[in-house]
């Protein structure tokens, strides 16, 4: 699954197209849809963080939903209680979550991958009840409500100048999210390309060998944890911005599963993977709920079951099918497809058999 996806030369053209696409998107879709795409980008950021941990440094965390919660609540408390400007709280929330993640990474070093998955899963399940407890700080079961964000004047002017219509809160949130997403993806791309990224990949592929080549295993693994938590924290904080509300029940264990699904679908150990994964993870259940009932070839029993079950059935099925048939996700499929095509075009050479030893002698 975690095969070596060779660091392909950056397709700058594709990247430019993608960036332009996302910048221009809110001008062609309505405000509500912009809000949805913002949510998808938020998931993509969190999944990028998870990817750094799982895909690049080989540690599996099933608790990233809890880190998102930490980021979201940090921002919410700072904005609500201490009246800080929400935008300022985002990097603070990210940093705080990153530090907590780093500290987490220290005991995580001693755990095998399986035990780490187990422990983080337990954390994700317990997180809501841990949030509910300190009720004066977190608002307990009711959570914290925030006023919807108002776009600043320069943004409103720019948007109206471009499109002729006033900018809504959702669209503003979209652009804030996009800005962070661009920044964080760019950072991840740099991280992976340079020494720390190579070190992490070496660790993922074989700790003993990596240690033998002088890689500071402990340092890089905890660093990976911290960075991935930072990403999740920022994603959580942006989530609060977008929904104007955080509560313990918005961060159930299924969120952590959703992140994992997205990471896996997109393709672990790749940069575009989390983006694709975020889009899939967000839109798949929505679209399947709308698309499935319209398909006449699906028996109505199955269709209604799928719709009633919500995202869980699609996520579960997709997860299983992808891991069986396409463990490197969509990006992996594209990459192997491309490699296979190239090989076929060049033609394969046969190997020659070695020299033949002399015939057997029979002694009589």
């Amino acid at each position: 699954m975690l095969q070596r996806l060779r660091t392909t030369p950056p397709r700058y053209g594709l990247v430019a197209v993608a960036v332009l696409f996302f910048i221009g998107l809110p001008t062609v879709i309505d405000s509500f849809q912009a809000g949805e795409w913002a949510q998808a980008l938020i998931l993509a950021i969190a999944i990028m963080g998870l990817n750094i941990l799982v895909g690049y440094s080989g540690q599996l965390s099933l608790g990233h939903g809890a880190f998102m919660a930490l980021g979201a609540y940090t921002s919410a408390i700072l904005a609500h209680r201490y009246k800080m400007d929400y935008l300022v709280t985002i990097p603070i929330a990210g940093l705080l979550t990153g530090v907590v993640g780093f500290l987490f990474g220290v005991p995580a070093l001693r755990l095998s991958a399986l035990y780490l998955a187990l422990a983080t899963f337990a954390l994700a399940v317990v997180a809501p009840s841990l949030i509910k407890r300190p009720a004066e700080l977190t608002g307990g079961v009711q959570g914290i409500s925030l006023p919807p964000p108002i776009p600043p004047q320069f943004a409103k002017d720019a948007f109206t100048g471009l499109t002729g219509v006033p900018m809504t809160s959702d669209q503003w949130v979209y652009y804030v999210t996009l800005a962070f997403a661009l920044l964080l993806f760019w950072l991840a791309w740099n991280l992976v390309r340079h020494r720390s990224g190579r070190a992490m990949r070496a660790i993922r592929d074989g700790e003993v060998a990596a240690a033998a080549s002088g890689v500071n295993i402990a340092g890089y693994k905890t660093l990976a944890f911290g960075i991935s938590a930072l990403y999740a924290g920022i994603a959580g904080s942006l989530f609060g911005l977008g929904t104007s509300f955080v509560s313990p029940d918005t961060f159930p264990v299924s969120l952590s599963i959703q992140l994992l699904v997205g990471a896996v679908i997109g393709g672990l150990a790749s940069i575009p993977g989390p983006l694709i994964g975020g889009i899939f993870a967000y839109f798949l259940p929505i679209e399947s709920n709308q698309w499935v009932p319209t398909q006449t070839w699906i028996p109505s029993q199955i269709a209604s079951t799928v719709v009633k079950a919500g995202p869980a059935v699609s996520y579960g099925a997709v997860l299983i099918l992808i891991m069986i048939f396409a463990p490197n996700g969509i990006v992996g499929l594209i990459t192997t497809g491309y490699t296979r095509l190239r090989r076929r075009l060049r033609g394969a050479a046969d190997r020659e058999a070695g020299q033949m030893p002399p015939d057997a002698q029979t002694i009589s």
């Binding site: 070695g354 033949m356 030893p357 002399p358 057997a360 002698q361 029979t362 002694i363 009589s364």
Partner: protein, 236 residues
């Protein structure tokens, strides 16, 4: 028709080819040795027979082709394979190991008699029945492996380096018992050994492998008597 026939068997691990066309036969009830230096392919030959490695060519046991059969099914045809390292199930007791030898058999009274014989040959196994197999010494583990193979009531035993790591006295004792089993129960043996001297004493026929092919073959007596073969191939 021989009990076991290998015909131009090629086998390897992934891209590395180890056997380049091995042919040999083991007649019913005979002991045949398979000799050669390290890396010649002796262990791979045994593994091919019981399906532990992919092979091409022909392998027939009792006239029946073993092509594409799973290890456990090959074994159920009547072949007992004591691998390199003996294959002792160290998580289980001595008794449980023995029971895994006899678990496929349906002939209750005969099984009990065979148990008596096993404990006669290897009294130490009776003493340590209830203990974990991991507490046995190297020699005792070899005895357990042999006892277990015997309990399977096979028609053919594949033994991979039974003398490895054992003191000479224990080696003698074990080979005596192998000879007894062969003669009393007419169990054929394909014996892989580095210790060519003792192998040639035990066997009627021998094959010497070199780089994945049979370099020399003949009756054990002839090979023993041939000085140049002994010096070039057998190291003594």
């Amino acid at each position: 028709m021989a009990l076991l026939e290998l015909e131009e068997v090629r086998a390897g691990y992934g891209p590395t080819s180890v056997l380049h066309g091995v042919s040999l036969t083991v007649p019913e009830g005979e002991v045949v040795s398979l000799l050669g230096a390290n890396g010649a392919g002796k262990t791979t030959t045994l593994r091919a027979i019981t399906g532990g490695v992919r092979w091409t060519g022909g392998i027939r046991f009792g006239g029946r082709s073993l092509s594409r059969m799973h290890t456990e099914d090959v074994v159920r045809c009547g072949i007992a394979h004591v691998p390199e390292g003996r294959g002792i199930l160290t998580e289980l007791t001595v008794d449980e190991n023995l029971k895994l030898g006899s678990h496929l058999r349906r002939d209750g009274p005969a099984v009990r008699k065979d148990y008596d014989r096993v404990f006669e040959y290897f009294p130490v196994l009776r003493e340590r029945r209830r203990l974990s197999a991991s507490t046995l010494s190297g020699g005792e583990q070899q005895m357990l492996a042999l006892a277990r193979a015997f309990l399977m009531k096979p028609r053919l035993m594949l033994l991979d380096e039974p003398s490895l790591g054992l003191a000479p006295m224990i080696v003698r004792a074990i080979f005596e018992i192998i000879r007894t089993i062969n003669q009393a129960d007419k169990v054929a043996v394909l014996l892989v050994e580095q210790n060519a001297r003792i192998a040639l004493e035990m066997s009627t026929q021998a094959y010497v492998l070199e780089v994945g092919r049979v370099a020399v073959t003949g009756s054990s007596a002839d090979l023993k008597g041939n000085d140049s073969v002994r010096k070039s191939y057998l190291g003594y």
